[in-house]
Symmetry: C2
Subunit: 405 residues, 2 copies
């Protein structure tokens, strides 16, 4: 049987012509004779931002339909360049965009579209003659033919969605790191790469700030049980494989430390709450697809306090939305900036009270003020000041990942 | 009845965000309430070259299919930006690319494709609600969905082809000059703008080097008798209208001086010619769509000499082709660079021998060596050294265009 592999190269992997040549060489060297290869590429690094800046310099509130049509051109350029480089080296290859392959998305939010359908037939036809398919990541097209973008990091989603549609044998995400680490090595020098990671842990890591994989693409891979591998396009190695092996999952314990900086906490104070405030907020945010990191409500007598946590990327949109809502309903609100979340990810954390005890003890020994704690079956997090993050991460890594070495 | 106007803005007209804002303002100010407007845009100036340079830096002989897919992205960016700017100013507008509007082309030469069909229905539907359609120039798509480019200056062709498909009332080409001049004002300071120009003369001017309009688009407009107007996007004015009025054509005489620099002359010497050499050369050039400026054969006893003239743009491709052919057939060949063609364009030139006499007298008085002469019903040309062009142009303009002022 022929195997089918989907490989995705991000913006830095195709960031220069020299890098594109290297990727072409790698593909030619590693392609098995009978292997079918679909390669998804992002725009050359910096290109999407260059285009976005053009748009926002032109007008403060550009049409989302036009933004999508414009910012997805960067992928078409890098896809064509990679196909050229492959052809030049004697490997038949063709570039395709989302419209050409009918990568269909919904139409509500043109710059944060979600893939609804991919025609496997079109792609299978294009895969004939043993040629490599180079596909624009990040792009989609609506039923009516409008161009859409999948949102930041959407090329990962493109790759995983293609792998699912084609029932690929493996989806390989090439990045600038050589796998999943127990913590961010820039923050924790002793962090080390893991060979394999269970799906649930990977999902949690991505949700809690690991930048290596987008959680949407992890979730999608999980839905179809596609083996997903993260590896480096700059150095050789087997990377980290995300697996669905129940036996291994049960024996696993801690998978890694994850963190996210630049969080903003919103505190909303409501007098005489009606009881529907939480759902009102959650719905308004969902309508605009503003991603919320967490939401908590505390109620004391005739007043309620709701705290919400947003990443730096989402906070601009959240600010507009929350200010409008609070004005409408006469709620008072306040934004507090400069928070980080440090999270321990692992299977069965809540069934082990000692883990939480060690976690909080480590932070309190360093006199780090904890603003909030978040606890689930798969993770244990603390919201702390940005400035305290490095020492917190190193201390927690030492306790949970270095003791058994 | 609603009128329908197609307007085309070139690369310098949309070269900066400031320029795009100005174009948006102009469109809003001049759009009649009941007028339907299709606006065709080129890439922001320099963008197509930037992309081409990327490709040729990556590989010396890139796939034409990929070049076409890549270099047409510039138009998508400028179309989206203009649509955004219009929306921002309260004028409903949407950008569309060639695939979205089914602007079909042939598939033989992906970077020099020719439009074969445009679906007027798709465009009419998109023109509903009084919104402005902003269309990517230069782009096409094949029946099988591959992206094609129409060749340099192809945005003019896009505009004229759309005007034909939609039976537009007028096709307006906005450029950096405010109309058609009796000669290039940079070369001839006394040159002046003409209000109207007959189709045949415009066609000839374009063929003979006038850069204002691409001759392919002039020919297309003529085929469907679309009134074509050249005007400036930088200053107000009525520009120059190309018309099909037979009565006016008959009374017209000289329309202008046209010139082209940087020509290369190839001299091919053939011993014992078979008689099919001319057609062999012409066919080979046509197959690669290399545009020939002229071809001449002289035969003396058992030897033939063929001289061919190429523009700077075409000469690179011509060189490869001619060298191959000459080696194959054991012909000797030689390239002579640095020629210019100066042409007088007007109706009924050949029926007036005095015109030719004055033309050659002017050049001989200046001691300008004439390499070759070309003569037709509509034009009279001399091939002279590049360096002699300015004084030749000024002298001829004085005789034919300044005496009656």
């Amino acid at each position: 049987m022929q195997s089918l592999i989907v490989k995705k190269f991000g913006g830095t992997s195709v960031g220069t012509l020299e890098r594109i040549r290297i990727v072409a060489d790698q593909l030619i060297q590693t392609k098995q004779a009978e292997e079918k290869l679909v390669v998804v590429v992002s725009a050359m690094s910096g290109e999407t931002d260059r285009l976005l800046n053009l748009a926002y310099e032109l007008c403060p509130n550009p049409s989302a339909r036009e933004i999508a049509a414009m910012i997805t051109t960067g992928e078409q350029v890098s896809a064509a360049l990679l196909a050229m480089a492959l052809c030049e080296k004697g490997m038949p290859a063709k570039s395709f965009n989302a419209a050409q392959l009918s990568i269909l998305t919904d139409a509500e939010l043109p710059t944060k579209a979600r893939i609804t359908k991919i025609s496997a037939e079109k792609i299978s036809a294009a895969l004939a003659n043993n040629q490599i398919l180079v596909v624009t990541g990040f792009q989609g097209v609506t039923e009516s033919g409008d161009i859409t973008a999948l949102g930041r990091g959407g090329s990962d989603t493109s790759a995983v969605a293609l792998a699912c549609a084609l029932s690929a044998d493996e989806c390989q995400i090439y990045t600038d790191v050589d796998g999943i680490y127990t913590a961010d090595p820039r923050l924790v020098p002793n962090a080390y790469r893991v060979e394999q990671i269970p799906f649930a842990a990977m999902m949690t890591l991505a949700k809690l700030g690991s930048k290596v994989l987008q959680w949407r693409s992890v979730a999608l891979a999980g839905k179809y049980q596609i083996p997903l591998r993260v590896l480096s396009s700059f150095k050789e190695g087997k990377g980290t494989l995300m697996h669905y092996d129940q036996a291994q999952i049960e024996s696993a314990k801690f998978s890694g430390l994850s963190h996210q900086m630049g969080l903003t906490r919103w505190i909303i104070k409501i007098k005489n709450p009606q009881g529907n405030e939480l759902s009102l907020l959650a719905e308004s945010l969902a309508q605009q697809q503003v991603l919320l990191e967490s939401i908590h409500q505390t109620q004391i007598h005739h007043a309620a306090e709701i705290s919400l946590l947003f990443s730096r990327e989402e906070n601009a949109q959240a600010t507009v939305l929350l200010n409008t809502l609070c004005e409408q309903h006469h709620w008072s609100c306040e934004a507090q900036h400069g928070f980080a979340r440090i999270s321990l990810v692992g299977i069965g954390l809540s069934s082990n009270p000692e883990v939480a005890a060690s976690f909080f003890a480590a932070l309190s020994q360093l006199n780090i003020p904890i603003q909030e704690t978040l606890y689930s079956e798969l993770s244990l997090s603390a919201i702390i000041p940005d400035s305290e993050l490095p020492q917190a991460a190193r201390a927690l890594h030492k306790i949970f990942f270095e003791s058994s070495i």
